[in-house]
């Protein structure tokens, strides 16, 4: 599934991007070292963090998109950096668990 399809189907807020990517999996986590080690390229990464280091980790792990859950705040500097590094950042009021249920329903 493409990121734009996901945005439409789940009514996600587009914060940066979308830089069109195909999604193949899901990773959930807020400890950045774990994300570095475990997230796979083309995953969507669900987190509560909205700071610049999230953009760096997303770029390094090559995730398809970051989805900030529970409408957590996202720093303007992070948005700017995401645009520069072509990292897609989306946001939703949903909790991670509710979002995962919906992602499963969509076949991810």
């Amino acid at each position: 599934m493409k990121v734009t399809e996901l945005v439409d189907k789940l009514e996600l807020e587009v914060v940066a991007g979308p830089f069109e990517r195909e999604i193949s999996g899901i990773y959930v986590g807020d400890l950045l070292s774990n994300v570095m080690a475990r997230a796979q390229a083309d995953d969507v990464w669900l987190t509560v963090h909205g700071h610049q280091n999230v953009v760096a980790v997303a770029s390094l792990t090559q995730v398809a998109a970051v989805i900030v859950v529970e409408d957590f705040p996202i720093e303007p500097a992070a948005v700017q950096k995401a645009k520069e590094m072509e990292v897609t950042i989306l946001r939703t009021p949903m909790t991670a668990s509710d979002l995962i249920r919906k992602l499963f329903e969509l076949g991810l």
Binding site: S33, N34, M36, A37, H51, N53, A56, V57, S59, L60
Partner: protein, 140 residues
């Protein structure tokens, strides 16, 4: 092939806004060189963790990454204050990071553990009140 420098960069204490820049630049260089993706991934993880370790815990330092036909070597040197108990520092979950750092998703005691896990060889020179030097090698 003689050892060549791929990247050498100074890293400031507490400079979170630039956290991951060295690793990102390195990743681009490795891709252009055609380094296999698994090797690149391991080197990138090791470099990222050592970069963040300097930012979070040290007084500032420098990362140098070298390549030869056998390996990619990541050298992280800092200006102190040193690690009193290295064995403890490598225990998963052990951390001296403050609440601010933990609040950003760092300092959960997994960083050095990742360095050890993803490198083939690792040496650490440090001690209370001393400069620290990590040399992590990832073999081809």
């Amino acid at each position: 092939m003689q050892e060549q420098i791929l990247i050498q960069s100074k890293i400031e204490k507490g400079d979170f806004t630039r956290g991951g820049e060295v690793s990102s630049s390195l990743k681009d260089i490795l891709r252009k060189l055609g380094v296999p993706s698994d090797t690149s991934r391991r080197v990138t993880i090791v470099t990222y963790e050592l970069e963040m370790n300097i930012i979070i815990h040290s007084l500032g330092g420098e990362i140098t990454v070298l390549i030869s036909s056998e390996q990619i070597k990541v050298i992280a040197e800092d200006q102190g204050p040193g690690i009193p108990d290295v064995e403890q520092a490598f225990q998963p979950g052990y951390s001296t990071a403050d609440d601010f750092v933990r609040g950003m998703g760092f300092g959960a005691g997994m960083g050095l553990n990742n360095v050890k896990h993803y490198s083939d060889q690792l040496t650490v020179e440090t001690g209370q009140g001393k400069k620290s030097k990590f040399i992590a090698s990832v073999y081809f």
